[in-house]
Amino acid sequence: MGGKWAVCTIAAKRHLSLGRVVCSSFQRHHSGVPFFLLLCEGRIEAGNEPFRVVWPDELGTGAEAMRSRYNEQEYSYALTPLLMEWVLRQGFDRVLFIKQESMVTGDLTPVAALLETASVALTPHLLRPLTAAAREREILRCGTYNGGLVGCANTEEGGRFLQWWAARVATHCRYDPAAGMHFEQRWLDLAAAYVERLAVVRDPGVNVGHWNLPERAVTVEGERILVDGGPCRLFRFSGYDADRPEGATRYFARLTMENLGAAAVVFARYREELLRAGWTA
């Protein structure tokens, strides 16, 4: 793959251990790809971290204006397109945003490579229909794409998309499904209309999370984690609480370590890494 790419995430100081895990797990599988962490709240000693710290005031006045409008969660989500734009401004050809509660478990180069021809890369919550409608309906309220992994190329169309997304979430990044809003995520549904060169990531090993775990076969062979027989590249822990390790996510109570099968091993490894990275409740 030609050109340079970089990865970024967003975390508040009290979630720094999550940021460290996503960064160090990424670095284990990729060498020489810069990793940026936007610290959306608090101050830290930046020199001791595995990532390059980005401060909100580096993103320009847009970030400043949002701080008073939003609570911490809304604010951190709304910063996503601004951070991606900032990374591209540093001279990278492609940027991948990964949400903080994630562990990179394999090579993400194939996702970045999609952006050689595509302007934007998104991962759907579901790759195929479910048997029952209930979870499909819930996902329609949240957005068909998951905001945990978003890729963008430094092209005219990519830039236009980020600029539009940033403008929308600057004022409309709340939880209000009845109004057609779900933080930054529902807006991504419009990418199918607005972005001609949209890559829909169909690798089942990318962005594995509680919303698709029931349909994906996770197996563990020594250090290797497989999903549907292929390599697991990015595992997501949205809603996971390392202090309540028996549950997978607060969003889906029925999913527990007991019924997760081999995926429970992945959660256990994630928890170990979090504790090593200084997890505090």
Partner: protein
């Protein structure tokens, strides 16, 4: 094109004139293209389907399962929308290689050739409401509430991928095709948001010529390029108003005032002043009494309990509705829930009983099959013995003769 491609629309009989105008406009540009109209309604003697310029597909021909339940749970608008994947499937079943659904309130203004070619080449073809931002945040939120793609155009080609998607879409609209935005539902349309995820071969039609409507006029100012216009929410009886769905839009700002005026005339000439007063066949109980909206909506939410009523249009449902106050407009939800729960308990008891009987039946069936197999085996053995005995007999007879 030689019948490999076909187009179709769906109406209740009050909208028949819209289908007539669409059919005429389609014939003008594509006289060879078969055009079907599915009737989600009953003619009730008010018109003769065989007298129309197009084949009318009866509701029962669309393959919608448990039709009475379907007709009872939905309003007219919901039922017309929910039938869409069924019509697409039906037209494929008829042997057309590729099929194009068009909303009845559309008019063909130019050559649809490039669109039809795309439809013929891709598993699924959809048109987004708009091709880019520009309407502002409120209009965009409205699109997110209604669905990224407009359901007025849907093209499908005979492929396995297409069938898989249509089967799923049909299953969803069969149960979840309400107008209920807070539930993430907007008739059949929000389900299409899954198309980019579920159909890798999806074609997003980006030619601004197609599905031009009030929501995208701002990005398509060149009227000379319009080929397929969508008069969504336009009422020919009130030709000065662009759309009932966007009351603030002024006709003089559309750049299409003449087009709207001419369309209103055409729909009226096709009989709309009369048909608009025609009743919807599924608005009444079997005894002619009107079905209250509240009852319909509640019935739609009953889920599996609804199966208790074998004929929702019958006396039992009417009596129940009267008993619970819904017939008088008393929308006591708690009372409804209690009544529904009672039914649910009964239904669950019945289900348990049914499951037990089913299991017993399965055991008996297994035993019977075992006996059958044994009987067949014994028959085979008997035949073998018989043959052996006959051979032996013949041998004995021959040796007796020689002796």
């Amino acid at each position: 094109m030689d019948g490999m491609t076909a187009a179709g629309t769906i109406v209740a009989k009050n909208y028949l004139p819209f289908a007539r105008v669409l059919g005429e406009s389609l014939r003008r540009w594509h006289p060879e293209l078969p055009f079907y109209v599915a009737l989600v309604d009953e003619p009730e003697g008010l018109f003769d389907p065989s007298g129309e310029a197009f084949p009318v597909l009866a509701l029962a021909e669309l393959g919608i399962p448990r039709l009475a339940d379907f007709c009872f749970r939905y309003t007219r608008r919901e039922a017309v929308s929910a039938a869409k994947p069924y019509l697409l499937r039906r037209m494929l079943d008829m042997g057309h290689e590729s099929v194009l659904f068009l909303d009845a309130d559309m008019e063909v203004l130019g050559d649809l050739g490039p669109l039809l070619e795309r439809v013929a080449g891709r598993p699924l073809t959809l048109t987004p409401h708009t091709l880019g931002p520009g309407m502002g945040v409120d209009a965009e939120l409205n699109v997110l509430q209604c669905g990224v793609f407009n359901g007025g155009v849907a093209g499908a080609r005979e492929t396995e991928e297409t069938r898989g998607f249509l089967d799923w879409w049909a299953a969803r609209t069969r149960e979840y095709c309400r107008y209920s935005i807070e539930d993430g539902m907007h008739l059949d349309q929000r389900w299409l948001d899954y198309a980019p995820s579920f159909v890798p071969g999806l074609a997003v039609e980006r030619d601004p010529a197609y599905n031009v409507a009030y929501w995208n006029l701002y990005e398509r100012p060149d009227a000379g390029r319009w080929r397929l216009f969508h008069y969504s929410g336009f009422d020919p009886m009130e030709p000065g108003r662009v759309s009932r769905y966007w009351p603030s839009m002024q006709m003089e700002n559309t750049g299409a005032a003449e087009l709207f005026a001419r369309y209103a005339e055409r729909v009226l000439a096709a009989g709309y002043a009369e048909t608009r007063t025609w009743p919807y066949a599924f608005d009444r109980f079997a005894n002619g009494e009107a079905i209250p909206m509240a009852l319909r909506a509640l019935y739609g939410r009953l889920g599996r309990v609804a199966a208790y009523f074998t004929d929702p249009f019958g006396d039992e449902m009417r009596a129940w509705a009267a008993e619970t106050g819904v017939m008088d407009g008393d929308r006591d939800a708690a009372m409804w829930r209690r009544a529904a729960e009672e039914r649910l308990v009964k239904l669950q008891e019945a289900n348990v009983l049914l499951a037990e009987q089913q299991a017993e039946l399965d055991t008996l069936r297994n035993a019977l099959n075992g006996e059958r197999e044994r009987a067949t085996w014994l028959e085979g053995r008997a035949a073998m013995f018989e043959r052996a005995a006959a051979e032996r007999l013949a041998l004995l007879e021959r040796s007796a003769g020689r002796g």
